[in-house]
Structure formats: C-alpha cells, structure tokens
C-alpha cells in the first residue's frame, strides 16, 4: 500500500497520473472547510442545494481553499498564520503535495489557480519586512515553488483571477502582523489597505485605496463578476461608534463605489463583512457578517440596499442557480432567491468562513 501510494504520488508529481475531473466527483459547486462533530477539521465538497458530496480530513482548522480549474484537486490552506497548505486529491482524499511557505513567509489562507491550472498563486506575508507577497507554485510539476513578487501592499488576504485570465486582483488588507505576536494587529494607526491589479509577473497595473478617512477599512475579501466588476468586502478597524460602508464595487478605470445599508441596519454588521458574492445573474451583490448575524443584499446597477436577512453566525457566500447560497457556523446551508432566504439543509458541522466556487468545465 505504501509503495502504491508513493508510486501514485510520484506519478502525480510528474503530472502523468490519470486525473479525475470535478464532474466525475458529482460536480460539487463549492468547497468549504468545516469543524465536524467528532472534533475533526475537514474540507467538504458541496452542491448548491446543500448536499455534502465528500469531506476530507485536514490536520488543523482550515480557512479558504483553491479549486483546480480542471482536476478534482484542491489546495486547502490553514488559517493564518499557517505555514503549510495541502494539495488534496478530492477523489481519494490523498495528499498529493504539501506546500510549505519559504523561510520568513506564512500563508494568509487564500490562493487561486491560473486558468490553465498550471500555476497556483498564494497570498503570503514577508513578516520581517511587513510586506505582502504573492507566491508562485508549479501546479503542473508537483507544486514546486517557482518564485514570488510583492502583492502591492501589506497583509494580502483574498485574491482572484480577472476574466482576462492575465490579471490578478488582490485584497491587500493593510494590516501588519507577525507570527511572534499571533494575530495581533501591529500597525492600525498607519494602515493603508488597497485593491491591487497585477499582471502574472507581478507588475502593478492599477491600485485603489479607500479615502483617507476610511484608511482603517481593511479590504479583505473579493469576488469578480464575469464582466470584470470586482466586489470587495471590508472589515472596519477604526472607532466602533462609526459604521462605514463594508461593500465596495470597482471596475478598472472607474472610481470605486462604496455601498451601505441605512444606519440601523449597517450598525448591526459590527464593522465586519466576512464574505462577498455576486448572485448568479450578477445583478445582486451580497455580504455577510457573522458578528452581526446578518446578510445584506444590494442592487449592483443602482447601488441600492435591497434587503437584510438575519442568520446566526452566517459567513460563507456564493452564487447558486437560483441566486445565492450561504453557509453558517451553525451548520445551516441556505438559499437566497428573489423572494427571500430559506435554509435548505442543516449539516452536522460548523461551516468555516468561506464557500469557494468549483469551476464547471
């Protein structure tokens, strides 16, 4: 058995192994990390209706994952400041490779593949210098480290590939942390988050920052619509008596639009948006706040706030055929349609922060 595993791993490393596609696995729509009742942390594949197709063990609490565009292969990241990520064959649960952050780096928990699936990009921290890094890994050859470039800011968190397949959009949260001090935020009074667009060699093409009075609004998560409109979610690190917008929309070449609910609803978010998604038809943008137990919907065209749904510990969010799907730390999986929010499944696990869409090819 050991021999066979080693043999398969060897094949995997050369890229010669026969690879299962996502369709053969039952076409999961999303990946999500979760805590299961037996105390194990697992990475699950689920359908938009809430059905869990598979769940694979993780060595520690996960955060986000990256789904390979073709192969049924996922990269599961530990929560920051984790220094490793696992490449998992989602058919067998077998570890295909282990990404270890180079000396002086740790992962932030998000990453994305190039459209051809040959490259993996990861957000990382050069913590001695306090500079954000994008790591490059060779997904075609056993995930060897190929190189790195600056992320264009401090504390890069979520990242995505633009529809052109040649541009990365990166949420540089602006917050400096160092593993010596755990998750302590070291630079709040001088933090400067930004949204950076980089080509795949690391050249900064475009950058936007919140206005100076909102420099403590950490841009952490993002999503990209098919036409290149970027939705970004923020986490307010400033005075808790203030309730600034936590959702932004940006199209390159235009100024960003910051969207907010009326004061009474906005304050319920507790300054914290955990996930952001566009609906399937792209007309609605949504953010979740686990701290406020709230999900807010906005009309993309007008920027108008359209609805608030109160859902305990809600965080994961993604598009579904009917509109949007959400998950919560309570195990709930639910749907948002034109008519309202409904829980479609109650899993016996605690869903972690994010739903990562699996490409349908």
């Amino acid at each position: 058995m050991t021999k066979r595993r080693a043999f398969l791993a060897g094949l995997a490393a050369t890229g010669l192994a026969p690879r299962t596609s996502w369709a053969e696995l039952g076409a999961p729509d999303f990946l999500s990390a979760a805590l299961f009742p037996d105390g194990s942390y697992r990475l699950a594949g689920l359908r938009a209706a809430g059905e869990i197709l598979f769940s694979l063990p993780l060595p520690a609490r996960g955060h986000a994952a990256a789904a390979h565009p073709h192969r049924a292969e996922a990269v599961a990241f530990a929560r920051r400041p984790g220094t490793f990520a696992l490449v998992i064959d989602c058919t067998t649960g077998q570890e295909l490779a282990r990404l270890t952050a180079p000396e002086g780096r740790h992962f932030y928990g998000h990453g994305t593949f190039s459209p051809d699936g040959r490259l993996l990009f990861t957000t990382e921290n050069d913590y001695e210098a306090g500079i954000g890094i994008i790591g490059l890994w060779d997904a075609a050859n056993g995930y060897a480290r190929l190189g790195e470039f600056n992320s264009g800011g401090v504390g890069p968190h979520d990242m995505a590939l633009m529809p052109d397949g040649a541009t990365l959009v990166i949420a540089n949260g602006g917050i400096e942390t160092h593993p010596d001090t755990g998750r302590a935020k070291l630079n709040l009074p001088v933090m400067r988050p930004n949204l950076s667009y980089l080509d795949l060699t690391g050249t900064v093409l475009d950058q936007i920052e919140p206005p100076s009075e909102l420099h403590k609004n950490s841009i952490r998560h993002l999503t990209v619509r098919a036409d290149g409109l970027v939705g970004f979610a923020m986490q307010w690190q400033g005075n808790t008596a203030e309730h600034p917008p936590l959702l932004g929309l940006h199209r390159r070449g235009e100024p960003p639009r910051l969207l907010t609910a009326p004061e009474t609803d906005q304050r319920r978010l507790n300054g914290y948006a955990g996930s952001v998604a566009f609906s399937h038809n792209g007309r609605t943008a949504a953010i979740t706040s686990p701290r406020g137990g709230a999900l807010h919907l906005f009309d993309v065209a007008s920027g108008a706030f359209t609805a608030a749904h109160m859902i305990e510990d809600v965080c994961g969010l993604g598009p579904s055929p009917d509109g949007l799907i959400f998950t919560a730390g309570t195990g709930a999986v639910g749907q948002l349609t034109g008519t309202g929010a409904s829980v479609s499944a109650q899993a016996k696990c605690q869903w972690d922060n994010h739903l990562v869409p699996v490409p349908h090819t």
Partner: protein, 337 residues
C-alpha cells in the same frame, strides 16, 4: 450546581438582567473608568509643567513626571473605545509597536527641519502620531540617538510640545468621558452607540479580553520572538526600563475591571482573581525590567511562564466570564479573518 444555576436563571425575568446591566455599567464607569482618566489628566498636567520647568532629559523631576504620567496611561490603555478612538487620540498617546521605525524617523525629520509646529499646539496636533505621545517623549529623554541631534533649544521645544500635546489629548479624552460617553455607556438606546445594556457590557468584556491579549501577545510576545530568535530589543519602552512595569500595571488595571464585570458571580470572580494574583506574582518575581533575559533560554522560559499565566486568564475570561455575562460568540463571529 451549574445546571441549577442555569435553571434558576431561566426563572428570573428579563428586566432583572437589564437592571443588572445598569448596575454593572455604572459601577465600572464610577469606580474604574472615570477615576483612572482623572488620574491620567493630573499626571499629564504635571508632566507638562515639569517640561516647562526643566526640559533637560536628565532632569530627575522630568523623569519622575514622565514615569508617573506613563504609568497612568498604561492603567487606562485597555479602555480602547469611544473617547480614546476619536481622532486617534490613543494612538497619538502611545504609538507602539512601531514596526517600521516611524517614531525615530518622524522625530529626526522634525529636528532636522526645525519644524515650527513645536511652537503651536494646533500645528503640533497634526504632526504624524508617530512623532507624538509617550513613545516619542521616551525617545527624546532616553534614546542616546537624540541626545545630540539638532540644537539644544529645538530639542527642548520639542520635548515641551510633546508633553503639552499628551496633556491636551488626555484632557480631551477625560472631557469626552465626563460630558458625553459615560451617559452613552450607562444609558444604552437610540442616542448611544450601544442599543442595549448587553452591547455595552460586551464592549467592556471586549476591553478586558483585548487588554489581556495585547499584554500577552504583544507586550510579551514581541520581545520573546521565537526560541531560536528572541528579540529583547523589541520590548516595550525598554530604554526607560518600563517593559515589565507595563505588564504589571496593565494586569492590575485589568484585574480591577474583571472583578467589576464578575461582581454578580462570586465564583467566577474568585477564579479570575486567583488567575490575576498568580500572573502578577510571576511578573513580580521576574526581576527583569526590560525582558533582556529573553536572550537566553532560561530567561525566555520564565517570561513564557508569565505569558502562559496571562493566557490562562484569557481562557477563564472566554470560558467562564463570557458565558455568565452572556457574551459568548459563534464559530465564525468569535475570531474574524
């Protein structure tokens, strides 16, 4: 026993909880928050006066006043909400950690340019926060690098400007607490940032939890570094020999806040108090005022033991105090990412 307490709790009408909240909030503002900020303003006023009498860094009176005012700040440094967060007042009082060396850079730039902002309090209030507050003053008084930089009269004016700015900031925070924020915290509702007593109590619980976290992770974690690479030069206010003192002062203040938060739950209060007593005992036995000892394994181990004692209080706060105050949080809402 705990089950019985839970069942009893179910029988108590909700209004009684609301009254409990009001009593807790009033007790904490009256006995903890307002007197501590009053003490701060007295000490910062004395510091300002001391710099006016004698601005020489070696002046014993100035150094004594510096320590007393800094002590008073550390004793309120966990109360990071409301008045301290207006216009970044708290950061302007204490810009630390300074991971990229902004304080020495800002001070050097002011001195090199002989920036006239030192002659005008309003102008000085718009200088970068890295060049203001206790850590900027500490650099001017105790860092040899600044002893000879620029001209003596300018250094003197800068020291006086920093002290006056510290005092103005402390006064502004206290005035806000007296004239505005005490009412907001103790009378939640539509005119308050807190919709309910629960939210106001949660703010104070958060102040306790983040205060403990800052002391364990940052005040101790930064100099501890890793076993292979300890960082004694990263200890807080090490030039003025205050690193351990900050830990003791903050634990003392947090112990007071914890006791008031747990006042209605004597068993939890006793557990917390024992936790603080243990951590303070560890701190006082360290005999290592700047954590220089982290450089060798034995010394680092002793600091780590202190850190563990504080982490034990954090666990108690999360698992015992949080649930009794009904401020426990969910899987995702607890610790964001």
């Amino acid at each position: 026993m705990r089950l019985i307490a839970c069942l009893l709790a179910l029988l108590i009408p909700a209004t009684l909880f609301a009254q409990d909240r009001a009593a807790t909030l009033t007790a904490i503002t009256d006995a903890h928050i307002l007197p501590s900020f009053a003490e701060l303003t007295v000490r910062t006023e004395a510091l300002k006066t001391a710099t006016q009498k004698d601005c020489m860094p070696a002046s014993p009176d100035l150094q004594t006043a510096f320590h007393a005012a800094f002590d008073a700040w550390i004793a309120v440094s966990h109360l990071r909400f409301g008045p301290t967060e207006e216009q970044d007042r708290a950061f302007a009082l204490a810009f630390w950690p300074d991971t990229k060396g902004f304080t020495p850079k800002t001070l050097s730039a002011l001195i090199a340019a002989e920036d006239p902002a030192v002659n005008d309090p309003d102008a000085f209030a718009s200088v970068s926060i890295a060049g203001r507050g206790f850590f900027a003053l500490e650099a001017m008084l105790y860092d040899a690098k600044f002893a000879e930089q620029g001209s003596a009269p300018y250094r003197c004016a800068l020291i006086r400007a920093i002290a006056a700015d510290i005092d103005a900031n402390a006064d502004a925070i206290r005035a806000d607490w007296q004239q505005d924020y005490t009412a907001k915290l103790t009378a939640p509702g539509p005119n308050s940032p807190y919709r309910s007593g629960d939210e106001a109590v949660q703010e104070l619980f958060k102040a306790l939890a983040t205060g403990l976290q800052f002391t364990a992770d940052t005040r101790l974690g930064r100099p501890m570094g890793t076993f292979d690479r300890p960082r004694p030069n990263r200890a807080e206010a090490r030039r003025s020999g205050r690193a351990l003192r900050h830990v003791v002062l903050s634990l003392t203040a947090l112990r007071d806040l914890a006791a008031l938060l747990a006042a209605d739950h004597p068993d939890v209060a006793a557990e917390l108090d024992a936790g603080f007593a243990h951590a303070l005992d560890r701190a006082e036995k360290l005999n290592d005022p700047t954590f220089a000892g982290v450089a060798d394994p034995q010394g680092r181990f002793r600091v780590e033991t202190l850190q563990q004692a504080i982490n034990d209080i954090r666990d108690l706060t999360a698992t015992r105090l949080g649930p009794t105050l009904d401020v426990a949080a969910g899987f995702n809402s607890l610790d964001g990412d």
